[in-house]
């Protein structure tokens, strides 16, 4: 991903009102990590498991700091129980910033990633989680704002799946 695009993601999160990010590091969007840590308006918290990322973000969100969880697509599988019982059943707004590995637009796709990639969207559908797939930088900031607005409106997790240009 071009450095300018990473900066636009971080600026977009901040400008949409996100103030807290829990994360488990991954490769594709990793340029956003140092930028998020440098941004004084973001509280950035590393976790050991994406399920934990979801529960910690839920606490931050209910405490009044709009929250995001940054994870690889694999993290949606790992955190699916907490997404269901905390995100959906309790009803907690949070933004899922997901590196959509293994999609047909993933520039790093391989036999390692394709199967989890193929099943990611059906998994989100089965959980009833709203999502938007981002393949290029067109209207990036507006898409982040719309997703954040949706998460506040429905008080549930909403996912942004970054692939294509973001996985270079």
């Amino acid at each position: 991903m071009e450095p300018e695009l990473a900066q636009r993601i971080v600026d977009g999160l901040r400008d949409a009102g996100i103030g807290f990010v829990s994360y488990l590091p991954e490769t594709r969007l990793s340029q956003i990590l140092p930028l998020m840590r440098e941004d004084p308006s973001l509280m950035v918290v590393p976790v050991a498991n994406e399920s934990e990322g979801v529960s910690i973000a839920a606490g931050a969100s209910l405490g009044g700091r709009p929250a995001a969880v940054y994870m690889e697509g694999s993290g949606v599988y790992v955190s699916s129980y907490n997404l269901l019982v905390v995100g959906k059943r309790l009803g907690v707004p949070m933004l899922l910033v997901v590196a959509y590995y293994g999609s047909t637009m993933d520039n790093r796709n391989s036999f390692l990633y394709a199967y989890p990639g193929i099943h990611l969207v059906p998994l989100l559908d089965s959980l009833g989680i709203q999502y938007e797939v981002l393949e290029d930088a067109n209207q990036l900031e507006q898409k982040i704002k719309s997703a954040v607005r949706m998460m506040h409106a429905i008080k549930q997790p909403v996912a942004l799946l970054f692939t294509g240009e973001y996985t270079v």
């Binding site: 529960s55 839920a58 606490g59 405490g63 709009p66 907490n82 309790l90």
Partner: protein
């Protein structure tokens, strides 16, 4: 020592702290003894401690109390290294360890009935002050310290296997209603809007 007796000692100490609870009989017993707006009893295993950590991080001026169980913590041991590294000084964690998965019809042993020592696990994850409480007098003094001191506390309370919660009438409040009550309480006491209609 049993959990209900511990809760009877803990409940009068609650003033404006935020209390996050998990599942099982403790949710029923705590909700019955302390029906308080600052309760967030999430009714699932493996999430309470994470939610408590998040609350403690964004509200550093509020004391956050987490009521966990052995089964719930065993499901989310990944919280412990994160807790040990973040070390939030406004968080008090009580793990009520009765060594069983206790449902309405089952009492099956957890790993703590065997060789697992949750306080030792916590110490290994960077929480050196993690301690074990086995009697009510010690519980009383540790609970007071945990609520008064500005220091992370992690207290494993070894309690008897009890089924008294099965006799307590369950609340009809659903989880969204419960969450709204908690958030409106926080909005009122923090003087800020938390749920945004339009983002």
């Amino acid at each position: 020592m049993n959990r209900y007796d511990c809760f009877e000692l803990l409940a009068p100490l609650i003033k404006d702290q935020l209390v996050v609870g998990s599942l099982s009989g403790q949710r029923v017993e705590w909700g019955h003894l302390c029906p308080y707006e600052g309760n967030l009893l999430v009714a699932s295993m493996g999430a309470a401690l994470g939610i408590g950590i998040g609350l403690a991080l964004v509200l550093p001026h509020r004391k956050v109390i987490v009521l966990e169980s052995d089964g719930s913590l065993l499901l989310s041991l990944y919280n412990l290294p994160t807790l040990g590294n973040l070390n939030p000084s406004n968080l008090a964690v009580f793990v009520f360890d009765n060594e069983v998965y206790s449902g309405t019809r089952i009492s099956e042993p957890t790993a703590t009935a065997g060789n697992t020592d949750l306080a030792a696990v916590a110490r290994g994850c960077g929480i050196p002050q993690a301690t074990v409480v086995r009697d009510l007098d010690f519980f009383r003094s540790e609970a007071r310290k945990a609520l008064e001191e500005n220091l992370l506390h992690f207290i494993v309370c070894k309690v008897d296997k009890t089924t008294g919660h099965r006799q307590i009438q369950r609340s009809t409040e659903d989880l969204w209603e419960h969450k709204y009550r908690f958030v409106r309480y926080l909005e009122r006491t923090e003087g800020k809007q938390i749920f945004l209609g339009r983002g």
